[in-house]
Amino acid sequence: MERNPMRRQLQTMRKSLFDQGYLDDQFVQLEELQDDANPNFVEEVVTLYYRDSGRIILNIEQALERKTFDFNKLDAYMHQFKGSSSSIGAKKVKAESTLFREYCRSRNGEGCMRTFQQLKKEYATLRRKLEAYFQLARQAGPVETACRPK
């Protein structure tokens, strides 16, 4: 158990993110890639994710505003989005993307709209939670752990 209360809090927070199903093991993968050379790797990747995927979200949003849906296009966008989401281990967002793509395949516009709203919600929630998490992580300072042997 950590002695540092802040770090303990951070651990709890991280655990709850996993327990509530927001994140999956891929996030651990990212964490494992973090080392002395890249102390903020996870945060960097997540930041990049939110910067990059915002554009796709916007694209999808615009595509959904049209009267007739171009399901192929939507599917392509969502494929991209899903790829990014799964790379950071955003479990819930990924689940929604999968659902969205299924709706795309079955040409269910209504389902797409609904799922997209849900997806945006999950996306925003995760962002909020991760932001809080990273902020706390910055405050808590680096972990005193042994580095991976090079």
Partner: protein, 1006 residues
Amino acid sequence: MVCEMEIDQIEDMDVEVLSSMWPEDVGNDAGKQFNVEKPGGEQDMLQEVTIVEEPTIVDFQHLLELTNYTDKGSSQLAFLVKHWEYKQANAVRLLREELDNLSRQRQESELKKLEILEQHRFEEERYGGDKRPISILDEVLDIWQEVPRTNNDVVVPSKRVEIDAEYDTVIYWKQRVIHLEKMLEASINREQILKEKLQESILKLEKQSSPIEELSQILKRADNFLHFVLQTAPVVFGHQDKELRYRFIYNHFPSLQEEDILGKTDVEIFTGSGVKESQDFKKEVMEKGLPAKREITFETELFGSKTFLIYVEPVFSKAGETIGINYMGMDVTDQVRKREKMAKLREEIAVRKAKEKELNKTIHITEETMRAKQMLATMSHEIRSPLSGVVSMAEILSTTKLDREQKQLLDVMLSSGDLVLQLINDILDLSKVESGVMKLEATKFRPREVVKHVLQTAAASLQKILTLEGHVADDVPIDVIGDVLRIRQILTNLISNAIKFTHEGKVGVKLYVVPEPPFAKEGSQHASDGSTDKSTTTSASKAESCTSTSKTSCDQNEFHGKKYEGLCRNNSLCEPGTPFMNGTADGDEEQAELPATTVWLRCDVYDTGIGIPENALPTLFKKYMQVSADHARKYGGTGLGLAICKQLVELMGGRLTVSSRVNCGSTFTFILPYKVSISCDNSDDPDDLSDMADHDHVMDDDETAGFFQFLPRTLGSLFSSNGSTRTQKLMPHNIGFANPHKLNGFSENCYLFPMNNGRPKEIDSVEDACSVAEAVQIPSEPGSSISHSSDPDKKSSICSDLHRLNDANVENKVSTTDVSSCSEKTNISEPQFPPKRQKKPDVGCQSTLNGSQEISKNSITSKPKILLVEDSKINVMVARSMLKQLGHTIDVVNNGAEAVRAVQKCSYDLVLMDVCMPVMDGLQATRLIRSFEETGNWDAAAKAGIEQDSSQQGRTPPTKRIPIIAMTANALSESADECYANGMDSFVSKPVTFQNLKECLEQYFA
């Protein structure tokens, strides 16, 4: 049986009798077809009703026959008979019951008699004192004892004999006997009476009416009811025999006599439309033997246009043969009319609703579009202002002291900035044209120069091995009037388009005079519109021609172009004070006074490119439309260019058309009207000649040159028109002269450039003064202004050219005499630039890792080279980090096409390939790489549009096959099978985990 009835008959009818006669089960059962009210005394409505009976015309004979022969008739009869029988049976039953009753009573009375007798005997016996011997058997079998007892109790309990005399005396017994005798007598009497009653009843029964009478009465009553119901109903019904001759008809509104109808057919009675149809319909029913309904509209002389709903049913004989039809018709003319009206109304309503909906939709769309357009325009404007600031500053920066690399970077920056500016301008133009705000300017310009300059510009930024050529026919006037800016825009757009879609061969422009095309009427209207708006024509013409030329020649140095423009303006602003002004004004007036002739010029922009499939032609000129999404990805662009061109051409009163063959090339043609002012030309020419006397061969060359060619070798050269000799020819001229005429109004301007440093300033100023003096000396020359305006054209281009040389040699401070050699230098150094640009993406891809590049180079021998092909930044970041931990550094490219280029350049030990990517997906890239490995050449890649860098062409194919590992998200579109089928070796599923990646790489780098 059926008879004609009279009114009094009905009144005479004995209602009481009838009411009893009417079979109850006929009248009351619900669901019976024949429902007749049971009249109760005064309630008989029929009494107050008059029934007119004339309409019925009956062929009795036939009816009789019918009832005899047809099933229906006989069944009807049978029905009636059955009824009668039933009624009789009922009466008999009632009588029987009564009889039973009576006999029971008699029995009772007999029993009583017996009882009395018995009692008597009993008493006698008792009286005698003898005991009646009762055997054992007797006890059992004696019924008499039991029966009377019950009878005593039940039947005559009240009739107990009351005798006053004392019991068991003689008087008592006597009295009792008398009493009993009386009772017996009374009983016998009663029996008698009952018997009489029975007799009476039987007699009565006999007296009752015969069944025939009753039936006829029933029928009469039914008939009355029928009449009552039908008397005002607008129906016609009747019976027709096998030959469709009427045998019976009922018509409420008879218009024909009996003899006119009976025994005749429809066709014989009526004439007109519908008659035949009804006849046929009846025949049909008869043939089919099934009843049917139909609506038939008659148009007869007899009763006009009427629609009848006709019901026809076949009548069968007992043997089952059709012997005729019953038919019933009802006039439904009004209903049909109403119905039709309703249908029409409904239809109209539906149409109106649909229209409304459509309209609403259109309104909505229009509003949306308007809003979007407005926003786009506003935004574009907002973006343009700061962007031009950026570009301008970059241009200024480019004039400062920079090293070679900085210069290159700046060039890229400028060209990118220009591109964005161009795009925004496109959008603004489009919204301007669409909103009708765009005004055309009428300026004098030289089509040859426009063609040349546009080609020059295109050649300067050409990144392909293409020949650019221009043909201008001899009959094309030297000067024409039109909106040169827009025409240039169109031409530039079409040429850059052609270049974009042409991979080898040539792109060219042909300009020639054509007769007035058929659509010219509206066109000329437009043109005149344009030319009437002349307030600033002349001064503008100078400024514009200046701007345009300078713009093209120093496309990448627009800043300078703007400076020129400014100077031009200054120049024209200065003019008012000088006699020059007169010349300008004169020219202007003449232009306005003399009728300007219109010349139609046709311009073909042709290429040997990929062509346009026929199905894409209709949408080609639509906004944001490209041949296919595939093209958009491959070639980029907004899809606005052609739309703008078309709108501009049409705005100027011309037409833009296209013809194309896939894989052979396309030709875009626009035909535009231009004004030619003959008087001006005339006055212009001599002036030009005199003015340019010293170097007329140069001008000649420029004015009448009909052919320009920019060969791939002279890529980017600015002076390669009319062959490379021209460069030598022109340059010495230019520099050697250094003459006042040449530099006329721009001499001062030229001083701005360090290039002029070597030249004595005094000469210039003196010469400048000279030129002004010269100009002043020839104020009466009407064309002077024109000559002036055309002159600067020349000059500006030259100036900018000089300036260009300048730029290249800023640090050298070259002297004037060196310039010619410099120019050659430029020619050599300039072409180096485009290929570098071409290389750019590759450089970029290799340097994506920039920091780690050195490491990878250092460790090239020991460590495997890995190429990561992935479009998602996040995935790149993750994968790179993982590979880094595994001790690998990687090169990253973002799509399949880049991957192929990377493999062309450099041999890799492993490729990690994403499957789904823009531009080219992983599967295709893999196929291309595999094809190279098998054939040793990149033909397949070239076919797919990836050109190999010439410097790499000699590279020998690698002996081993590059392992290509697919990275899939396990989606349907990228199944493992497909990966293998396309030549991939294995796959890692996404999201990539450290373990997976490690295991996968260990397979190859064990």
